[in-house]
Symmetry: C2
Subunit: 114 residues, 2 copies
């Protein structure tokens, strides 16, 4: 499975939107957007901006939530942090689409040099 | 379908946790936790605290995300806001569990008055 994880942190949302769009546009078919704690809201924003403004044919496969236990050396009790995982995929694109030229079907762009 | 919507706002997370737990404990079998914008992270926290600390047998049915267009009278262009909806349910509880007393099965608490 051709998947890539993009972890949402403290940068502006559009940085992560660009990372997701770039990943899809370089031919990959799926992305997993992950975030913890307060970055969860930003992860949803990133997914929604990609879907609504940049890659219209992307599918929202599933959204998972959960809790992760963070072990902090300063605290003996540990800390629970919520996480989200948003899995998106795009129908596989043929990088060189078949093009019909006359009665022949060739790969890539039609050749007009003849 | 017996469902209740709980909208996450600016109050502390535990207020909403209490609302969800109270709803389930009053015999209802499902809750939908909804939030927009920055409250999305808090909605995930609320769901995870309910699941992890209060109602262990609750099911996370599905998590949906989307975009809502807010029409603001001061802005002509409107504003897109992300939302999340977390649907949880609990196996239906028998409000008066059958209790075995001797060879008889009766409803409710055993009657010790005999």
């Amino acid at each position: 499975m051709d998947e890539k994880n993009i972890f949402i942190g403290k940068k502006p949302s559009m940085n992560y939107v660009l990372a997701v769009v770039t990943h899809f546009n370089s031919g990959h078919d799926s992305v997993s957007i992950k975030a913890r704690g307060r970055a969860i809201s930003k992860a949803v924003d990133v997914a929604e901006i990609v879907r609504g403004r940049f890659i219209m044919d992307v599918n929202l496969d599933d959204v998972r939530i959960g809790t992760e236990r963070i072990v902090d050396e300063d605290r003996r009790d540990g800390l629970n942090v919520s996480w989200i995982e948003i899995n998106m995929s795009r129908p596989v694109q043929d990088p060189a689409p078949k093009v019909r030229v006359g009665n022949d079907v060739i790969d890539g762009k039609p050749d007009h040099s003849e």
